[in-house]
C-alpha cells in the first residue's frame, strides 16, 4: 500500500459517516460512571435498610466478608455517589489529558512552578484531598466517649480539673495529651484529628460537587447564549441577572425551616445560585474566541457549531473557567463553616464548621477544638486563593502569545 496522502482519499467511501468517534477519555468516563451508577442503583433496590452496599453485594455474589477485610466497609449515600462521579470527571477530563499531552503539561507546569506559594498551596490541597479521600477508609469515624472529653493535644497539657479522666500522664495537676488523640478531643470525647480528617472529606465533597454543578450550568448557559445570539441571548442573560441578584442565603434559611437542610441541600442550593458569574464570563470568552481565525478555519472545514464549541471554544475557555472556579470554592467552604457556626448547618456531619461550632463554648480552656479545624480551614482557603492566582498567570493566553512570538 502506498503511503497515505491527502489527495488519495476517496471521500465517497466516507460519505455519510459523521466522523464521530468518542475519545478514549469519554469511553473511560462513561464506563466508570455507569458502574458507579449501577452500584448506586443496586444499593437503592437490593441492599437492606441497615446493610452496607458492599455487605449486600458480598452476600449476593457469595464472597463472604472479603470486602470488609479489604477495608471497604463504607455505606455511601447519594452525596457520596455524586462525589465519586465528579471525581471521575476530574480524573478523565482534567488529569488524563494532562498525562496524554506531556508537552503541554510540561509547558504549563514550568510556568506554574515559577510561583512558589502556589506550589506549596497545591501540596497542601493535595494533602487535604488525599486525607479526605483515604482518611475515611483508613480511620473509623470519631466516636463519642464522654469520659475522654477535653483531652489536650499531644505535647500540650491542661489543668486536670477540666478533664473527667485524664488518658495521658498527669504531672503536677496537669493532664498531658497522648498519641491516641494527637489533636485532643472535644467535650463529647471525639478525637479532633479524626474529626479534621473527616472534615476534609466534607470539604472536598463541597469543592468538587459545587464546581461541577457550577461549571456544567455556567458553560452551557454561556456558550448557548454566545452562539444563539438574538433574543435567546437576551433571555438567558436576563435570567443570569436574576440568578445573580437572588438572595441565596435567605432562600436557604427558608428551605432550612421548612424541610431541614442537610449537606446535600446546602450544596444544591448554593451551587444552583452561584453559576451566574461563570455563565457571563464564559459567554464573553466564547464571543471573543468566536472571532479567532482558528474557529473560522474549523467552520470552513465543515465542522458543526457543536463541534466548534466542544473542540475549540470550551477548551480555550477552560483555563479561565478553572481559575474562576478555583476562586469560587473558598466562598462555599466559608459559607458552610459560617452556617455551621451559627448552628444552621448539618449537625449530622463532621465538617470543620461543626467542629468549630462545637468548640466555641470551651474556647477558654480547650482552644485546640476551635484552633485545629480553624487553622486547617484558613490554610485551605488561602491555598485555593493562591492556586487560583497562579493558574490565572500560568494559563493566561495573553502572556502565552507574547512568549510565543
Amino acid at each position: 500500500m502506498p503511503p497515505e496522502r491527502f489527495d488519495r482519499i476517496d471521500w465517497e467511501e466516507h460519505a455519510g459517516s459523521s466522523g464521530f468517534s468518542a475519545s478514549i477519555n469519554t469511553v473511560a468516563f462513561v464506563l466508570t460512571a455507569l458502574s458507579v451508577l449501577a452500584l448506586a442503583g443496586y444499593d437503592r433496590l437490593f441492599a437492606a435498610e441497615r446493610e452496607t452496599v458492599f455487605g449486600a453485594l458480598a452476600r449476593d455474589v457469595g464472597v463472604g466478608p472479603r470486602f470488609e477485610s479489604l477495608g471497604i466497609g463504607a455505606d455511601p449515600g447519594a452525596l457520596e455517589y455524586l462525589f465519586v462521579i465528579t471525581l471521575l470527571l476530574f480524573v478523565w477530563y482534567l488529569l488524563a489529558p494532562l498525562y496524554q499531552n506531556p508537552r503541554m503539561t510540561r509547558y504549563y507546569w514550568d510556568r506554574f512552578t515559577r510561583n512558589r506559594p502556589a506550589v506549596v498551596s497545591l501540596g497542601w490541597l493535595f494533602v487535604v484531598f488525599a486525607g479526605g479521600l483515604l482518611g475515611p477508609l483508613l480511620l473509623s469515624a470519631p466516636q463519642q466517649d464522654v469520659l475522654a472529653g477535653h483531652q489536650p493535644p499531644v505535647y500540650l497539657s491542661i489543668d486536670a480539673s477540666n478533664v473527667a479522666r485524664c488518658l495521658g500522664e498527669t504531672v503536677g495537676g496537669r493532664c498531658h495529651g497522648t498519641w491516641r488523640y494527637p489533636l485532643g478531643t472535644t467535650q463529647a470525647g471525639e478525637g479532633v484529628f479524626r474529626n479534621v480528617v473527616y472534615g476534609m472529606t466534607i470539604s472536598m465533597q463541597i469543592a468538587f460537587i459545587t464546581t461541577t454543578i457550577v461549571a456544567a450550568i455556567g458553560i452551557t448557559f454561556g456558550t448557548v447564549s454566545a452562539y444563539a445570539g438574538g433574543w435567546v441571548d437576551e433571555a438567558l442573560m436576563r435570567f443570569v441577572d436574576i440568578v445573580l441578584s437572588f438572595p441565596t442565603l435567605l432562600f436557604f434559611l427558608l428551605i432550612l425551616y421548612i424541610y431541614g437542610a442537610g449537606l446535600g441541600m446546602f450544596i444544591l442550593v448554593f451551587s444552583l445560585f452561584a453559576w451566574g458569574g461563570t455563565a457571563r464570563y464564559v459567554r464573553s470568552k466564547a464571543l471573543s474566541i468566536a472571532e479567532e481565525e482558528y474557529v473560522d478555519a474549523a467552520r470552513i472545514s465543515g465542522a458543526s457549531t457543536y463541534r466548534v464549541v466542544r473542540r475549540h471554544v470550551v477548551p480555550n475557555t477552560a483555563s479561565s473557567i478553572i481559575t474562576q472556579l478555583t476562586l469560587l470554592v473558598p466562598g462555599f467552604l466559608l459559607a458552610e463553616a459560617q452556617l455551621a457556626f451559627l448552628g444552621l448547618g448539618d449537625s449530622g456531619i463532621n465538617s470543620w464548621g461543626q467542629l468549630i461550632s462545637a468548640g466555641r463554648s470551651d474556647l477558654a480552656f480547650a482552644p485546640w477544638i476551635v484552633l485545629a479545624p480553624g487553622i486547617v480551614l484558613f490554610l485551605t482557603i488561602l491555598a485555593f486563593n493562591f492556586l487560583g492566582d497562579a493558574l490565572l498567570d500560568a494559563l493566561n493566553p495573553k502572556t502565552e502569545a507574547e512568549r510565543g512570538r
Binding site: 482519499i9 466522523g19 503541554m104 482558528y294 465543515g302 510565543g404
Partner: protein, 445 residues
C-alpha cells in the same frame, strides 16, 4: 475568459451589515461592505484581489465561502464533480453556493479551503498542530486515527516542516512556519480552490517570499485555483495570473496582471501602481498621491465611488482648469459640504506666521485659505475663478452652507452623477471609469 466554464463564478455579490439594530432600536441603515462584485476564477488560475484596507475584499472572500451569509448575489462553484451543470428552469443555478443546504454546504467545504492572515490566531493554542491539520479529515468522516496522522505527517513534509512537528504546539513555531502549517491544513481535504486572505501581510519580507514560493509550488503541483487577497500590489504581481482591483465594495478594474500593472486604466489602479516601490534608476515613476479621506461605506459617494479622491476626475462642460487645481477645488467643496472647514485654524496659521494680532482682513484670509487647499491665487478659467471667489467670500461672511452650495452648482463633475459601466480594453482587461465611456469626449490629461 474563454468558453471554458470557470471554477468559481461570482455574480453581483453583496454583503451589507445593518447598522443600529438590536431589540429596541430600529435598524437605520447598512454598511455596504461588498456591493455588487462579479469575478471568475478559472481552473488552475490565481486571481489576485487587491484594494486598500476596509474596501471589502476580505468580506467578499468570506461571503464566497459563506463564513458570512451574503446579502445578495450568486456564487457558482463548479468544482468537485459539479462541472457541467446548467441552470434550472427558474433561473437559479444548481451550483449556487448561496443556496446550498446543510449537506451540500458540508460537501462544498471539502472543495474550498482558506488560509488566514494572522498566524498567531489561526491555530488553536490548545491543540497540537498535527491535530489541527488532521481535524478536517475527522470532520468529514475519516475515523481512522492512524490514517489521519499519516496524512498530516506527509503534508507537514510537503510544506517544508518535519513529521516530528506533529505533536508540537502553535506557540513553538514562528509566523512563517505557522503560515506553512496553515497551507498544510488548507490542503488536507484536497480542495479545488484555496482562498488566501492576506497570507503574507503579517510576515517579514524575507519570509514572505518563502511562503509565496511554497504556495506557487503547491498550486502548480496539484492544479489548484487560488483567490489571493492582498493590499499589496507588489505581492500580487508575484503570484497572480489575473488581478481584480476593489474600491469601496466594488471592483473597478480587472484583467491580466501584466496588462493591469503596466497599463492601468482606472485612476485608482494608477495610484496603487504608482505606489509600488521600484528598483534602480530610470524606473522612477511619479507617485500619485490620493487626496481626501476614504469615504464611509455606509454612505458611499454617488456615481463613481472614487470621484471624491480621484486625481483624474472629469471636468464638466464649460470648465477648463488645470487638473490638479480642479481636484483641489473639489476637495474644498467636499470639505465644505462635510462642514470640516474651520476658519479659526486658518486665522491661527496666519497669526503664527506673521505675528499679526487683532482682526485679519478678508483678502489675507482668502489667500491663506487657498494656500491651505493648494489652490492657485487665481484660477485660469475666469468663470471658475468668479464662482470660487464668490464662494470664499460667502464662507468668510460666515455662511458656509451658501459657500458649499455655490461651489456645488458650478463644480459638479459628471462622475458624481453617473455610475460608470465596465469598458473592455482587450484581453479580458476591463475597467469601470467614466473617462472610457464613449460619450465623454474630453479626456483630461
Amino acid at each position: 475568459m474563454t468558453g471554458e466554464e470557470p471554477l468559481l463564478s461570482v455574480r453581483g455579490l453583496k454583503k451589507h451589515y445593518p447598522t443600529g439594530g438590536g431589540l429596541l432600536s430600529r435598524s437605520s441603515g447598512a454598511v455596504r461592505a461588498v456591493d455588487g462584485v462579479s469575478f471568475d476564477v478559472g481552473r488552475g488560475e490565481t486571481l489576485g484581489l487587491v484594494g486598500e484596507s476596509g474596501c471589502g475584499k476580505s468580506t467578499a472572500a468570506r461571503s464566497v465561502v459563506r463564513l458570512e451569509e451574503p446579502t445578495a448575489g450568486e456564487v457558482i462553484f463548479n468544482g468537485g464533480g459539479r462541472a457541467g451543470a446548467s441552470r434550472n428552469d427558474d433561473g437559479t443555478h444548481p451550483n449556487d453556493v448561496t443556496r446550498f443546504g446543510r449537506a451540500e454546504l458540508k460537501a462544498f467545504r471539502r472543495d474550498v479551503q482558506m488560509v488566514f492572515q494572522d498566524p498567531t490566531s489561526s491555530f488553536d493554542p490548545r491543540m497540537s498542530v498535527g491535530a489541527s491539520i488532521a481535524e478536517p479529515l475527522s470532520v468529514h468522516g475519516l475515523s481512522d486515527r492512524g490514517r489521519r496522522r499519516a496524512i498530516a505527517e506527509d503534508l507537514l513534509e510537503r510544506v517544508g516542516l518535519s513529521p516530528g512537528d506533529y505533536g508540537r504546539y502553535p506557540h513553538e513555531f514562528s509566523g512563517g512556519q505557522k503560515q506553512r502549517l496553515a497551507i498544510a491544513r488548507a490542503l488536507v481535504l484536497n480542495p479545488d480552490l484555496v482562498i488566501a486572505d492576506e497570507p503574507v501581510s503579517a510576515l517579514d519580507v524575507s519570509v514572505q517570499a518563502d511562503v509565496l514560493g511554497l504556495l506557487e509550488e503547491i498550486q502548480s503541483t496539484f492544479g489548484l485555483s487560488v483567490l489571493f487577497i492582498s493590499h499589496d500590489l507588489s505581492v500580487v504581481r508575484e503570484i497572480a495570473d489575473r488581478v481584480a482591483v476593489m474600491y469601496l465594495g466594488e471592483i473597478v478594474e480587472i484583467g491580466p496582471t501584466e496588462a493591469v500593472l503596466t497599463a492601468p486604466e482606472h485612476p485608482y489602479t494608477e495610484a496603487l501602481v504608482s505606489a509600488i516601490p521600484t528598483v534602480g534608476p530610470g524606473g522612477k515613476r511619479q507617485e500619485i498621491e490620493l487626496t481626501g479621506t476614504v469615504p464611509d461605506p455606509s454612505n458611499p459617494p454617488s456615481g463613481c465611488r472614487f470621484h471624491t479622491r480621484c486625481h483624474a476626475v472629469v471636468q464638466p462642460e464649460g470648465i477648463d482648469l488645470d487638473q490638479s487645481a480642479w481636484r483641489r477645488v473639489l476637495d474644498l467643496r467636499h470639505r465644505l459640504e462635510a462642514g470640516e472647514v474651520d476658519l479659526e485654524t486658518v486665522r491661527e496659521s496666519i497669526r503664527a506666521r506673521t505675528d499679526a494680532t487683532g482682526d485679519l482682513d478678508r483678502s489675507t484670509l482668502g489667500t491663506q485659505l487657498r494656500a491651505e487647499f493648494g489652490l492657485p491665487e487665481t484660477l485660469s478659467d475666469p468663470v471658475a475663478e468668479r464662482e470660487l471667489a464668490g464662494s470664499i467670500e460667502a464662507l468668510l461672511g460666515g455662511d458656509a452652507d451658501a459657500a458649499a452650495e455655490r461651489l456645488a452648482s458650478t463644480f459638479r463633475t459628471p462622475c458624481e452623477g453617473t455610475a460608470p459601466e465596465f469598458t473592455g480594453h482587450g484581453g479580458g482587461h476591463r475597467s469601470a471609469c467614466l473617462r472610457h465611456a464613449p460619450d465623454v469626449p474630453s479626456e483630461p490629461e
